[in-house]
Amino acid sequence: MPAEKQPVPFRGAGFDPTPRRFASWIAFAGILLAWQAASSTGLLPELFMPSPDAVLSALARMSASGELWLHLGTSIRRIVLGFLLGAFAGLLLGLAMGIFSMARAVGLPIVSALFPIPKIALLPLLILWFGIGETSKVATIALGVFFPTAVAAKTAVDGVARNLIRMAQSFGTPASAIVWKIVLPGALPGILGGLRIAASIALILVTAAEMIGAEYGVGALVLGAGNLMQTDKLVAGVVLLSLMGLAVSFGIGLLERRLLRWR
């Protein structure tokens, strides 16, 4: 480098993908338009993939006939019941495992052994126990929600900064108050994260359970439409599921924003 005098070159650019909300919306709209165009020109045969407007009109038809609400209502009832049951029980066990050595020693091996089982596999057993009706489906969902909630709650309690607990102890705060004032609020973000996963598992399970022997529910709708090659109804059902997923995720997001304002 024999240069006697040289400007300092700029070398800090890149690796900073910006969100570009605008481009995202354009891209999304563009995809929908391209899809519609491909369908209209016959490039994408209706038989294999319905056009967006066909899906919309299928939704409208089903809504008018009430079929939509029947399927949606059935699925939502199952999810809500199963989710509440499973989340409540999972929370109790998870907190206990996070706080008490004994609960952990007994609970953890069981949870670890049962966690990797896809809960849908328990549906046949639950049908034997509870019959083919609602109970077995709700129980499947509850089980599917129970385990991730319990594990998330335990992990969240483990993750509560020990220094905060020691701090409270150093001020003479009694143990029960420490649970309420330190452990629970500190574990809340992790628990909500666990519930988010649990909710998406509940959605998978309700779909699968409804596909395996239910008359109503979005899962039954989708399978039936698929078997009848009614692709417009099928994709409409898939859109419903996507919306349900987005709604749940939005709901938990709302909860997070309310409960975790301090973050």
Binding site: N163, R166, A168, S170, G172, T173, A177, P185, G186, W262
Partner: protein, 258 residues
């Protein structure tokens, strides 16, 4: 009140961390505790404060606690240990809950300590909205609110940047001048120890033993003056000689041999 440790020793499993520590913290004084990394300073402070059960020896408090004292031995933590989900005022309130004081007195005490630490305008702010220096001020306010007999501070300023540290040192000096709280102050920073403490206790490397207790013979208010600079520099050099070799060894020690 006085805090007296007698023949205190501690082991974590097979690791001997402290051995035969006899220390007497005098009423109203600030005792700085220095020593190489890992020599057991935090452990000793924990034992003094009743947060760690010593393997050997005993600790006791002597004298009459100050009026309105709710928690004789009170900590100020290096990492501030604020509850992120509580506002500044509610964080200070934590130490007052579960103690027999009325709602009104609690409110008055909170207001008083927030004013004292210059946080009056931030009573409703959450910790994430504060700078590091302000967070530690909340930690100090919370500790003072319970009117402790002895304040235990474990490197309270070491998580702050140099400028904020100097500022808080000045404020601590002011608070001590007013409250005259007995204080044990753990630090790595010799300059800080010489700036704040009445006496400096030096621990040897692990297992920590009391190597020396050094009186700082200059009134706290005058230590900033250039006239005393050579003397402080000498004290600094003396202390640094006592721990430099061990500090170097500790720094070279592989933190996580694996």
């Amino acid at each position: 009140m006085q805090l007296i440790a007698r023949a205190v020793g501690h082991r974590y499993g097979a690791l001997e961390v402290l051995a035969g520590i006899d220390i007497e913290v005098r009423e109203g004084e600030t005792l700085a505790l220095i020593g190489p990394s890992g020599c057991g300073k935090s452990t000793l402070l924990g034992i003094l404060g009743g947060m760690i059960e010593a393997s050997a020896g005993s600790v006791e408090l002597r004298g009459v606690p100050p009026a309105g004292c709710l928690n004789p031995l009170t900590y100020v933590f290096q990492d501030f240990a604020l509850l992120p989900w509580r506002s500044v005022a509610d964080n200070v309130a934590l130490g007052l809950e579960h103690h027999a004081i009325g709602r009104r007195e609690r409110k008055e005490r909170i207001e008083a300590v927030l004013a004292l630490t210059g946080l009056g305008d931030f009573a409703d702010a959450y910790p994430r909205q504060l700078s590091g220096g302000m967070r530690q001020r909340v930690g100090i306010a919370r500790a003072i609110a319970v009117r402790p007999a002895v304040l235990l501070m474990d490197e309270p300023l070491s998580a702050l940047d140099a400028q904020t540290r100097e500022l808080l040192q000045e404020e601590l000096t002011a608070i001590w001048a007013r409250e005259r709280t007995t204080t044990v102050y753990v630090t790595h920073n010799l300059t800080e120890a010489l700036h704040l403490a009445d006496r400096v206790a030096v621990l040897s490397r692990r297992p920590g033993r009391l190597k020396q207790i050094l009186e700082v013979p200059i009134p706290r208010e005058e230590r900033a003056s250039p006239a005393h600079a050579p003397m402080l520099a000498q004290l600094h050099a003396a202390l640094w000689d006592q721990i430099r070799v061990e500090a170097a060894a500790a720094d070279r020690e592989v933190a996580d041999a694996g």
